[in-house]
C-alpha cells in the first residue's frame, strides 16, 4: 500500500470545506451560473428517466452488476488483462498516482513525441498527469470543450460532467479571445458569446490538433472483461477524433470501471446518458478492442489504476462508492454543491460522490471535513442511477473521522452530552439550566447573536428561548400530580 499523500486526488494545500465554501458563497455570479446549469440538467434528467417504465428496475440492475463485479473484481481484472492482451493491447498495472504517471510518461517519451491530445479522463486529473508530463517536456492538450475551457483558464474542473460549469458564456468568450493563441490556433477576431460561435472557435482550434497529434491519452467509462473492449461515452465527437486518428492510444482507467460482459454494459448505456445529460442516448459511444490492422491506433496501452481503490474495496460500507459511473446526477441535485460549486471539495471528485470517494481514496484524516459537507438530505441517494447510499457512507465516514481523532474539539462536548442524555435526571437539570440561560440571553422572546462556536449559526438565525417548563416537567405536574 502506498502512502495516502502520494495519491494525488486532493489538491495540495486544499483548505477545509467550510473555508473553501466561504469564498464561493460570496461569488454571486458563480451561484447564479451554478443554479441555472444544475436546474436545467436536473429537469431534463427527471423527464427522460420518467419515460422508462422500468427505470427503477434498471437502477436495481445497475446496482446489482456493480455489487457483483466488485465482489469478484480481481477475477474480472485478470480476465480483462487477458482479453486486452489477446486483442493486441498492452496492459500496465499502477498501484498509485506516481506509478501511473511514470508509466504514461515513459510510454509517451518512447514514441519520440512531445505533444499528446487528451480526452475524457478524470483518472488522469486524479493523478495530476498533465503536470507530470509537463515536467518531462510533454504538452498535453485537452480536447473536451469544457476541459479546454478549464485548461485555457489555468483553472480547476468543478463538475464531473461539465468541468467549466462555474463559467458563463461571457467569461468563456473572454478566455478564448485572450488565451487560445498561446495553445495553438487563435480565436477568430470579433468572437461573440453565442454558443454556436464559441463551439465553432473551439472546433477550429481543436481540429488543427487532431490532425497532427500522434499520441492520445484517454480515460474510459467502462471496460468489458470478456472481450477486452474499452468504452468511451461522449457528446462532442472530439473523443472519437482522439481515439481513432493518432498512432498510439494510452488509456488510463480506474480499476472499478470493469464490467463483466456486453449485456452488463447495456444496462449502463441506458442509465448513464439519462442520468448525466438528461438525454436518451449520448451522441457518441466509442468502443475499441485492442488494435486492428489498417484501422485506428497502431499501439494501444491500458493502464489500470488502483490509487486507493483496493483499500476502498476492503470497507464493506464504503466500497459502494466504487460503483459510481460518474454521471454527476448527485451533484446536480445536491443543495450544497448548488451553493458552493465544485472547487470547495478540493478534489477532482466534487459534490456528494466526492465527499464519500475522496476521503476513502486519500484516507479520512486527509479530507476530514468532506464527510460533514452534507445535510444528509438524501437527494443524492434518490438520484443515483446505481443506488449508492451516499448518506449512509457519509455517516459511516464521519465515525471514521471521529475515531481518527482529526474531528476537532467537539469530542468532549459530544461525550458529555451523551452522558446527560442517558439520564432523565441530568437531562431535567440541563433543561432547567437552558431555560434560565436562554432567558438571560433573550430579547423580545428570541436569542440573537451568540459567542463561540455558535456564532456562525446565530449570524443569520434567531434562536428560540427554551420555555420555563419542559414537556417532562409539565407532564409530571399536570398528569401525575407531582409538584
Amino acid at each position: 500500500m502506498s502512502d495516502h499523500r502520494d495519491r494525488g486526488v486532493v489538491w495540495l494545500g486544499a483548505p477545509s470545506f467550510p473555508d473553501a465554501a466561504r469564498g464561493a458563497l460570496k461569488d454571486t455570479q458563480l451561484r447564479a451560473n451554478l443554479r441555472r446549469a444544475t436546474a436545467t440538467i436536473r429537469d431534463k434528467r427527471l423527464a427522460v428517466a420518467s419515460e422508462l417504465d422500468d427505470w427503477e428496475q434498471l437502477r436495481d440492475a445497475g446496482a446489482a452488476i456493480k455489487r457483483r463485479t466488485s465482489r469478484h473484481l480481481d477475477r474480472y481484472l485478470v480476465q480483462l488483462e487477458a482479453s486486452v492482451t489477446a486483442a493486441g493491447g498492452i496492459v500496465h498495472w499502477a498501484a498509485d498516482a506516481a506509478e501511473a504517471n511514470r508509466i504514461v510518461t515513459e510510454l509517451v517519451l518512447a514514441t519520440g513525441e512531445r505533444e499528446v491530445v487528451k480526452v475524457k479522463s478524470m483518472a488522469t486529473q486524479e493523478i495530476g498527469l498533465n503536470e507530470h508530463l509537463a515536467e518531462a517536456g510533454i504538452t498535453a492538450y485537452e480536447t473536451d470543450l469544457a476541459e479546454l475551457i478549464v485548461q485555457l483558464g489555468d483553472d480547476r474542473p468543478s463538475h464531473i460532467l461539465v468541468p467549466a460549469i462555474h463559467r458563463n458564456r461571457t467569461e468563456i468568450r473572454d478566455l478564448f479571445a485572450a488565451e487560445m493563441r498561446h495553445w495553438g490556433r487563435p480565436a477568430p477576431e470579433g468572437l461573440t458569446d453565442e454558443p454556436a460561435d464559441l463551439a465553432e472557435a473551439a472546433r477550429r482550434h481543436l481540429r488543427s490538433r487532431f490532425l497532427t497529434a500522434k499520441v492520445t491519452v484517454s480515460g474510459a467509462n467502462f471496460a468489458v472483461a470478456d472481450t477486452g473492449t474499452v468504452v468511451v461515452v461522449e457528446s462532442e465527437g472530439n473523443g472519437r477524433m482522439c481515439l481513432t486518428l493518432p498512432e498510439t492510444l494510452i488509456t488510463v482507467m480506474g480499476l472499478e470501471k470493469v464490467v463483466p460482459t456486453w449485456s452488463d454494459l447495456e444496462v449502463f448505456l441506458q442509465l448513464l446518458p439519462r442520468s448525466s445529460t438528461g438525454e436518451r442516448m449520448n451522441p457518441y459511444t466509442s468502443t475499441w478492442t485492442g488494435t486492428t490492422d489498417g484501422d485506428g491506433p497502431r499501439t494501444f496501452h491500458l493502464v489500470l489504476l488502483d490509487n486507493g481503490r483496493t483499500d476502498t474495496l476492503a470497507d464493506p460500507v464504503g466500497r459502494q462508492a466504487l460503483a459510481c459511473i460518474r454521471c454527476s446526477a448527485c451533484l446536480n441535485v445536491c443543495p450544497v454543491f448548488e451553493r458552493t460549486g465544485g472547487h470547495a471539495y478540493g478534489s477532482v471528485y466534487p459534490g456528494p460522490i466526492g465527499a464519500v470517494l475522496t476521503p476513502q481514496l486519500v484516507g479520512v484524516e486527509n479530507a476530514a471535513s468532506l464527510p460533514f459537507a452534507s445535510t444528509l438530505c438524501g437527494a443524492c441517494y434518490d438520484a443515483c442511477p446505481v443506488k449508492i447510499d451516499i448518506p449512509e457512507v457519509l455517516v459511516h465516514l464521519r465515525a471514521e473521522v471521529v475515531e481518527s481523532g482529526t474531528g476537532g474539539a467537539e469530542a468532549p462536548a459530544m461525550r458529555a452530552a451523551a452522558a446527560v442524555l442517558d439520564s432523565p435526571r441530568l437531562l431535567g437539570a440541563a433543561q432547567k439550566a437552558a431555560a434560565l440561560g436562554g432567558r438571560a440571553l433573550a430579547r423580545h422572546g428570541r436569542i440573537g447573536r451568540l459567542p463561540g462556536p455558535l456564532r456562525g449559526w446565530s449570524d443569520t438565525r434567531d434562536t428560540p428561548v427554551p420555555p420555563a417548563e419542559s414537556f417532562r416537567t409539565w407532564w409530571r405536574k399536570n398528569r401525575e400530580g407531582e409538584r
Binding site: 428570541r446 443569520t460 417548563e469 414537556f471 417532562r472
Partner: protein, 246 residues
C-alpha cells in the same frame, strides 16, 4: 391499545407545546396515552455526527423505556427515522443479542405522528379548525427518509377553514442538517435564505412541518428577517380548534 409518547429530547426541551398538541389530538380521538419517564433521546445527534458508540446507551434506554407498548408515537420524522433505520444497525454493530432482539421487536411499533394517525388509527379528520393560510414544508427526513408522502397534506386538507398553499421548491433542503448548520454555517445560511424566500413567496401566514428542528432553523431565519410568518409543528395545527363551536 397502549400508546406511548416519544417526545424527543429536542421537543421536550425547546418545544414542549408540540408534545401537548400530540396529546390533545390523540385524546380527542379517544385514546389514552402515556409518557414513559425513562425516555430521553434517540441518539440521532451522536450517530449522525460520528459518535456511534456514544449512541448505544441511548438505543438501549429507548428499547427499555418503550418495550411494553403497542404503539410508540413521535412528532419528529427524523427521530422516527433514526429509530427505524439506525437502531437495528447500531444494535447489530455494538449491542449484545438481547439488545438486538429488543430493538428488532420494538422498531415496527414506532410511528411518526402522521403515520400513526393515517396508517394505524385510520383517521385523516382529527376534528381541527384553523382558519389560516398554511404552507407545508416536507423536511428531508419526512420526504426522503420516512417517505411520508401525502399523509401530512391529507391531514391538513381535512382541517376546517385551513387554506393550504403551495411552497415553491418545497423538496429542497432548508440547510439545517443538525451540526451542519454549525460546522458549515455559511453554506447553511445560503440554503436558509432561499428557503425563506420561498416561504415568503408562498403567501402563507403559517409554515408547518413534521420536524421542529428544521422549523427552528427556518423560523430563526424568518425572525431575523423580521418576517411575519409563524412556524408551527403540524401537530399544533391538528390540535387547534380556533373559533370552532365547542
Amino acid at each position: 391499545m397502549r400508546i406511548a409518547l416519544f417526545i424527543t429530547c429536542f421537543n421536550d426541551t425547546l418545544y414542549p407545546g408540540t408534545g401537548r398538541a400530540v396529546l390533545t389530538v390523540l385524546e380527542r380521538l379517544g385514546h389514552t396515552v402515556e409518557f414513559p419517564r425513562d425516555q430521553t433521546c434517540c441518539g440521532q445527534l451522536h450517530f449522525n455526527t460520528g459518535y456511534r458508540p456514544e449512541a448505544i446507551p441511548l438505543v438501549a434506554r429507548f428499547a427499555r423505556a418503550f418495550a411494553d407498548y403497542d404503539a410508540v408515537v413521535t412528532p419528529s420524522a427524523s427521530c422516527a427515522g433514526m429509530v427505524r433505520d439506525h437502531h437495528p444497525l447500531l444494535a447489530r454493530e455494538y449491542g449484545n443479542p438481547g439488545l438486538q432482539r429488543q430493538v428488532e421487536d420494538l422498531v415496527p411499533r414506532v410511528h411518526e405522528f402522521t403515520e400513526l394517525l393515517t396508517d394505524v388509527l385510520g383517521v385523516t379528520d382529527v376534528g381541527a379548525r384553523f382558519p389560516h393560510r398554511v404552507a407545508y414544508h416536507p423536511t428531508c427526513h419526512s420526504l426522503r427518509g420516512l417517505r411520508l408522502g401525502d399523509r401530512p397534506s391529507r391531514l391538513l386538507r381535512e382541517v376546517e377553514d385551513l387554506d393550504l398553499v403551495d411552497l415553491p421548491a418545497a423538496d429542497s433542503c432548508c440547510g439545517f442538517g443538525g451540526t451542519f448548520a454549525v460546522k458549515n454555517a455559511d453554506t447553511s445560511a445560503a440554503m436558509l435564505a432561499d428557503k425563506g424566500d420561498a416561504v415568503l413567496d408562498s403567501g402563507a401566514e403559517v409554515l408547518c412541518a413534521a420536524d421542529n428542528s428544521c422549523l427552528m432553523h427556518i423560523g430563526g431565519g424568518l425572525s431575523r428577517r423580521r418576517a411575519a410568518v409563524r412556524t408551527m409543528h403540524l401537530a399544533e395545527i391538528l390540535a387547534a380548534t380556533e373559533g370552532a363551536a365547542p
